[in-house]
């Protein structure tokens, strides 16, 4: 179980990015985090990854405090971040250097096959399309078999068609070993398509605003009425999270605004 216990983060420059964020995420659960820009989603994810530890509060995985990158936690960034000097196969095997060569090779070959890039094993990253590169990044993160996989807007740089394709692909890969997925997204449909739960955040400082359960059986149908209902619920929560913020912003600047009217 992944437990976020009152995670707060203040950056050295004084920006208060995250305020006592608490959640419990079960093993194998898929959780989407959604919220306005700058509300601390990446900050939260980086704290879970152990890249930028929280200033207060704790992230624990099975009662182990996470303060630095952990072998059971993988992350996929918005950009593929492939190492340009390694072939596609070597990129996928990058995190497996502790394994014997034969085992590593077998896993890489399987992963290449799984993401449909078997013919690209020898290609350089620069020779891949954006979607292919992100698939390599997914394979690289999954191949060490993490218990928790974090994704920070992994598909936001892709076109709509590639995006839905990769969403299906991700679900497919997830079904193999069923790791916990924590996924930041801007796309409500993507959140409802993939997640068991959608956590809606509100900004300044980033806080948990709503926790929407998605009780839909998989595979999900984007066009079904139930899907639409859940989507609307998330949208309402999202609207409200931003609305409240808008009101605050207006009251804060009302003095200056009055001059205008």
């Amino acid at each position: 179980m992944l437990v976020l216990g009152g995670v707060s983060k203040t950056y050295p420059n004084g920006v208060h990015a995250l305020e006592r964020f608490s959640a419990e995420i079960r093993l194998g659960e898929i959780v989407a985090i959604i919220g306005g820009s700058g509300c601390g989603k990446s900050t939260l994810l980086r704290a879970i990854a152990g890249l930028d530890p929280a200033t207060s509060g704790a992230v624990t995985l099975d009662d182990i405090a996470i303060t630095a990158p952990h072998e059971k936690i993988g992350i996929i960034f918005q950009e593929p971040r492939l190492l340009p000097w390694l072939s596609v196969a070597d990129n996928i095997g990058f995190g497996l250097s502790d394994l014997p060569a034969a085992e590593r090779r077998a896993r890489v070959v399987r992963a290449l096959d799984r993401v449909g890039l078997a013919d690209k094993a020898r290609a350089w990253p620069r020779e891949l399309s954006g979607g292919q590169a992100q698939r390599v990044a997914i394979a690289r993160a999954l191949v060490p078999q993490p218990e928790v996989l974090l994704l920070d807007e992994p598909f936001s740089a892709l076109d709509a068609f590639t995006r839905t394709d990769l969403q299906d692909h991700l679900l497919d890969l997830w079904a193999d070993a069923r790791p916990t997925l924590v996924m930041v997204t801007h796309d409500v449909e993507e959140a409802v398509m993939l997640a068991d739960r959608v956590l809606v955040m509100r900004p300044r400082p980033g806080r948990l605003f709503a926790d929407v359960a998605v009780n839909l059986a998989r595979p999900r149908d984007r066009k079904s009425q139930l899907f639409d209902q859940v989507k609307r619920r998330v949208l309402t929560a999202l609207d409200r999270s931003l609305d409240r913020n808008l009101m605050e912003a207006q009251s804060n600047s009302s003095a200056g605004e009055a001059m205008w009217w």
Partner: protein
């Protein structure tokens, strides 16, 4: 299936490269194109001297330069001079590269060392390196040591700057990938920093080598009994322009060849690069 984990994959299929015939054409056509102008000039000058329009005493025709080179080669003089110059450049280049790489890496890696070292090194860099010559002669004598030291100084600065700049420019996002996979300090250097720095390092080496060739001439001007720089001075004092031009031509050949050696040995390690220049010569 062969896989080299951690090392840039060396062998690749040609399937993704441009069509073979076009590659072959541009590979030979481009250097040939570069030879047209110098050859035309050489032939033109040879003809002018041959026709008696100029006596060619101050600017010797190519045939005379070639004859001089052959003469020098026959007596064994030429190889002695070339060897002397080459070994000076090699020693100076080696010392300069070692010092530049070490200090550049230290300055790039540790902010504290950079704050401590870099201002001094930058101040030293502002001194025209030839200005060291008198001091080096006083300290190290007029023989080999002072010459090698001068060359090493010339090579040091571009290598130092190149290495430090390259380390500072390594993408934080790529370093984060290393952190996620919990690379230890040495593994981070070997698997992330070194490959990331390599392209800039090769450029720094080539710039350093160029300066090494520049400084060997200065070093040999300050009193040498052998070497190509000596041939230059000797040719001037005895009024033998053909010998001067011969030495210049050999400098050009050696400089180009050693630069080409660096380029060729590093090319397989840099094949992954997203080259900016169009691959073919056509466009």
């Amino acid at each position: 299936m062969v896989m080299t984990v951690d090392l840039p994959a060396l062998e690749r299929s040609e399937a993704t490269a441009a069509p073979a015939s076009r590659v072959r054409l541009t590979r030979y056509a481009r250097p040939a194109l570069g030879l047209v102008l110098p050859l035309a000039l050489a032939v033109g000058w040879e003809a002018i001297v041959h026709l008696g329009w100029s006596n060619g005493r101050l600017v010797p025709p190519p045939s005379k330069v070639i004859a001089t080179i052959i003469d020098l080669a026959r007596t064994g003089e030429l190889s002695r001079h070339i060897l002397a110059t080459l070994s000076r450049v090699a020693a100076g280049f080696a010392f300069g590269v070692i010092a530049g790489t070490l200090l550049g890496a230290i300055s790039g890696y540790w902010a504290l060392a950079r704050q401590l070292l870099d201002p001094t090194i930058q101040a030293l860099r502002a001194i025209p390196s030839i200005a060291w010559v008198p001091l080096f002669i006083l300290w190290l004598g007029i023989f080999e040591t002072s010459k090698v030291a001068l060359i090493a100084v010339g090579v040091f600065f571009p290598v130092y700057l190149g290495v430090m700049g390259a380390i500072l420019a390594v993408d934080r996002k790529i370093v984060e990938v290393g952190r996620i996979f919990r690379l230890s300090g040495p593994a981070m250097i070997r698997r992330i920093l070194l490959p990331a720095v390599l392209p800039a390092y090769v450029v720094a080496l080539r710039v350093g080598l160029g300066l090494g060739w520049m400084f060997v001439v200065a070093a040999e001007f300050m009193g040498a009994s052998e070497g190509l720089g000596y041939l230059l001075i000797d040719g001037q004092q005895l009024g033998k322009p053909a010998q001067i031009v011969a030495a210049i031509v050999i400098f050009a050949i050696l400089g180009k060849t050693t630069d080409w050696l660096i380029e060729v040995t590093s090319a397989p390690l840099l094949r992954w690069q997203d080259a900016f220049a169009p691959q073919g010569g056509g466009s």
